[in-house]
């Protein structure tokens, strides 16, 4: 199906089903209930899930397959955002030209930076990408203010030409759309106590992510993907087998840069502004965290990692001590205070601490991330059944 093997097609369909029904799946708790704060089915967050999913999928094509650890990928996300906003300002509020330019621009930047950085490998490559990204951040923040909007960021203005749209008609700032569909529009469905929101922007991003995911599967299963894994495994052998690793790695770098640019364009399409902080090195670190947490080198891992981190950032971080006290109110006072005191540092504003601890645990114990964790659990269940001793074979790049 779709030119994929059965296993991959199943995975794709599964991901498609999950994204399509996400407004239901992420809102399992009735509105107004105590658990409603765990609902993640609101457009803003769902958009972030899929957009960062795209970012991480792309990063994984570079890091997961070739093993080259870039610490500057957020720069391409930033380039994509700026390019998209400029398209909104100059040409049209339609998201398609914005996305197109963003992907092209980030691809060009990735080509240039990748060409230079890939002359070194290992930690030197990481430092080079980091240095380039930090330079771009610093420039975007200061000298390039006419292009990037500097500290305030790049925003739409009423005076923008918008050639195709014929300028701004009324006194309101226009919103990004796709041939008349406005990205911010939503439909709501109320089922008893439950409220589900279906947002056009989310579904647009979801479709783009599914396409990006499909492309990633094709790359993983292609000779190109195999070459990339061979680069990670043994460059010397690759050289003596008559292959030149450089163009392969550069292609992977450019492709993953374009994925980042695509993600940046989608961010700008959902909310038409772009700021330099998107390029800061901590943003680059975040996509590393996502990819590792979910499972580096696996297909679905980066998407899971992106989802997990964005969920923590937006949901876990909102739990404050009052809410905690509410949960443990049934306990005797002393015990309640004690438990809240123990848990509190790890949630709410301290969610980064939890993230750091989980991340360390993954690097130490579960190099395959959440995906490997899931596989291990599945295998443990399978092993309980008799007579399947030979099924414990590890399959790469699942």
């Amino acid at each position: 199906m779709f030119g994929l093997e059965k296993k991959d097609a199943t995975l794709l369909l599964l991901v498609a089903a999950l994204t399509i029904f996400a407004p239901f799946l992420l809102n399992p708790f009735p509105e107004g209930s105590a658990m409603a704060q765990f609902n993640a089915g609101y457009p803003d967050l769902m958009q972030r899930f899929v957009i960062f999913g795209i970012f991480a999928i792309g990063f994984n094509i570079l890091f997961g397959l070739t093993g080259y650890l870039s610490f500057g990928h957020a720069a391409f996300l930033g380039v994509g955002s700026y390019a998209a906003v400029w398209m909104f300002k100059l040409l049209s509020m339609n998201v398609l030209p914005a996305i197109l330019l963003a992907v092209v621009m980030s691809g060009l930047f990735a080509l240039l930076i990748g060409y230079i950085s890939l002359r070194r490998s290992g930690i030197y490559f990481s430092i080079l990408t980091l240095a380039f990204a930090q330079m771009m951040f610093a420039l975007a923040y200061s000298v390039l203010t006419p292009i990037t909007g500097g500290e305030t960021g790049l925003q739409l203005a009423l005076s923008d030409p918008r050639i195709l749209d014929g300028g701004t008609a009324d006194g309101n700032l226009p919103v990004p759309g796709l041939f008349g569909l406005e990205m911010r529009d939503s439909a709501q469905l109320e089922l008893g106590a439950w409220v589900f929101t279906f947002n056009i922007g989310y579904y647009f991003c979801a479709i783009v992510m599914l396409l990006a995911f499909y492309l990633a599967i094709r790359i993983f299963r292609s000779p190109f993907g195999m070459m990339l894994r061979a680069i990670k495994s043994n460059q010397q052998r690759l050289n003596y087998t008559g292959l030149n690793p450089k163009p392969y790695t550069l292609a992977a770098f450019v492709i993953s840069g374009m994925y980042a640019g695509l993600a940046g364009a989608l961010m700008a399409s959902m909310d038409p502004l772009a700021g330099a902080e998107r390029m800061f090195w901590t943003a680059s670190g975040e996509v590393v965290l996502m990819t590792i947490l979910g499972g580096v080198g696996t297909l679905i891992g980066p998407v899971l990692g992106a989802g997990a981190i964005k969920y923590m950032e937006n949901i876990i971080s909102k739990i404050n001590s009052d809410i905690l006290h509410g949960w443990f109110a049934f306990l005797p006072d002393g015990l309640e205070d004690f438990i809240v005191a123990v848990i509190y540092p790890f949630i709410g504003k301290g969610w980064h601490l939890t993230l750091g601890l989980i991340f360390m645990a993954v690097v130490i114990f579960l190099p395959g991330g959440l995906v490997e964790g899931g596989q291990r659990i599945a295998r443990a269940f399978r092993r309980k059944k008799p007579d399947t001793p030979k099924s414990a074979k590890t399959e790469p790049a699942e």
Binding site: G3, L4, E5, R218, I219, R221, S222, P223, F224, G225, M226, M227, R229, A230, K232, S233, N234, Q236, R237, L238, N239, Y240, T241, G242, L243, N244, P247, Y248, A251, I255, K393, T394, P396
Partner: protein, 251 residues
């Protein structure tokens, strides 16, 4: 005129003269062994042939073309495959994938961005890979992670990866180093079979005289960076200069 012509090659590392005035001619479809005591420059010479090192002086011609200044992958594309002293394979990949990569390199050249096609659709190459695996009795291991194989299997896999490219010249760097006697004999048999079946030139660097005299049609003895003698195996055995080189080395 041999398929590989090494003329007046010299190489220095700082003050150390690793190779000087090396002349060597390897005839097509022969098996040429290069032997010599430790530090004689055998590995340096090999590295000059495959593009890892560039000699300071002299020329290296393969099949009528100079290899000097070309990178290892270009030299491989000219038809030279190399087996390393410790097996160099793609340890994170399966045996089958290890076989596919040289086949792609042979068909598509040093680089081709085929990112949208699926490996599993490459019927012809897959068959070729499986045929080769069958030849080296590894077909049953094709889904194995190659890192988890024994050293002997890794060596056989590496050999198969080189052979599947149908190279004109196969360079072997101590292919039996650290092997048990039985494995060594298997390797000898495998190489004999390859010689019999294919039009292939083999150049072999080896310590083990048993291997050398079982396989070689011609032997060059290297000592202190210079060829001492080049002759047929039967003439090498009792050659006084050779004994001097080896005995002089080991007191």
């Amino acid at each position: 005129m041999g398929i590989l012509e090494v003329k007046d090659v010299g190489k220095r590392f700082g003050g150390l003269k690793a190779l000087s005035d090396v002349n060597l001619s390897v005839k097509e479809n022969s098996c040429h062994a290069i032997i010599g005591p430790n530090g004689a420059g055998k590995s340096t010479l090999l590295n000059c042939l495959v593009g890892k090192l560039i000699p300071d002086t002299g020329s290296v011609m393969f099949d009528g073309q100079s290899v000097l200044g070309r990178s290892p992958h270009e030299i491989n594309q000219m038809g030279i495959s190399r087996v390393f002293q410790t097996p160099e394979i793609f340890a994170d990949l399966t045996v089958f994938e290890n076989m596919m990569i040289p086949l792609f390199a042979k068909r598509d050249g040093a680089y081709r961005l085929h990112a949208y096609e699926s490996v599993s659709n490459e019927r012809a190459l897959i068959e070729e890979a499986e045929r080769m695996l069958d030849d080296v009795n590894m077909l049953d291991k094709r889904h194995m992670h190659s890192a988890s194989m024994s050293r002997g299997d890794k060596r056989r896999l590496e050999m198969a990866m080189c052979l599947v490219q149908n190279p004109k010249l196969l360079l072997l760097d101590e292919p039996t180093a650290g092997m048990a006697r039985a494995d060594t004999n298997n390797t000898i048999d495998l190489l004999k079979e390859i010689k019999a079946k294919r039009d292939i030139t083999i150049a072999i660097i080896e310590h083990d005289m048993h291997v050398v005299f079982s396989l070689a049609d011609r032997i060059t003895v290297l000592a202190q960076g210079t060829p001492l003698v080049e002759d047929a195996p039967e003439n090498i055995k009792g050659h006084p200069k050779v004994q001097e080189a080896y005995l002089g080395e080991t007191h």
